[in-house]
């Protein structure tokens, strides 16, 4: 029944958006982490969304006749390629021989925008989920 797959589509949207939100949270939390994994400064992470058929694999989400069922999934988490910014702080333990420290390439403005967008998309998915639930309950009372 398509109302139940509607629920799972909205559910996939909500879980993808919350993953995006947690990437944002991680980026903001690490905005000043001069040392991340491997001794390098932390790099901002971004999630990449992809339309994904919930029925089976192999749907590239291009054909309208097959995308009717597509939910969304997080295809990859990529590191931002933006340059790290350099801070002059000769007293820091991580300063190089000229006194510069490489700081993370997290852009707080980008992150805030991303966060608001993720929040709105999550809410829209939740709304769609609730509507589908209401309709399914209504159908039970025909």
């Amino acid at each position: 029944m398509s109302l139940f797959s509607t629920l799972s589509i909205s559910g996939s949207g909500m879980s993808a958006e919350s993953e995006r939100l947690s990437a944002v949270a991680s980026n903001i939390a690490n905005a000043n982490s001069a040392v991340g994994a491997g001794g390098q400064p932390f790099r901002a992470r971004e999630v990449v969304f992809q339309a994904a058929s919930l029925q089976g694999e192999g749907d590239d989400g291009d054909d309208p006749s097959t995308t009717g069922m597509s939910g969304v999934k997080v295809a990859a988490v990529v590191e931002s390629s933006a340059p790290t910014h350099t801070v002059y702080d000769p007293t820091s333990t991580f300063a190089d021989d000229k006194g510069y420290v490489q700081m993370p390439n997290v852009n707080p403005v980008d992150e805030m925008v991303n966060m608001i967008s993720a929040q709105q998309d999550y809410q829209a998915n939740l709304e769609a989920f609730n509507v589908a639930k209401t309709l399914a309950m209504r159908t039970l009372t025909i």
């Binding site: 589509i9 009717g68 597509s70 998309d121 829209a124 998915n125 509507v131 309709l135 209504r138 009372t141």
Partner: protein, 152 residues
Amino acid sequence: MAATIDTGLDFFRQVLALRAARQEILSADIANASTPGFKAIDLDFAAAMQDAMSQRRGSETAPAAPKRVWLVDDARQLPAANVTGAAAPEFVKYQVGSEVTLDGNSVDLDTEKVNAAENAVQYESAATFASQTIRMLMIAITGSGSSQSGGG
């Protein structure tokens, strides 16, 4: 009386199936509101409904089913099987006119929300009409409007 008892209900069954299919499509659009390259789609409800109705009319003029016996072990006696629900791919089309963002996404969240709300109301009204039809049949059967529906 020539009509079978589910004649009026068949229409609502079709409406509900198509409305549910459209709700699913709109939910998929909303879920993919941030997916790069995703193009918003929609179900052409009017065309799909018209097609379904013409199919039904076609099947009515076809040779009558041998004998209506309500057994479920024979596929020919289950007219519910030809309800075109989600399986109406030719009526699923790309939405046009909405703004395409830099990452190639054409979902307009506000439009989708409005469409989904409108579709939900249409679904509920079809469900209400179906309920009323069933109640009408119950009144015809029992001869009273009281709540002796017996699980109908």
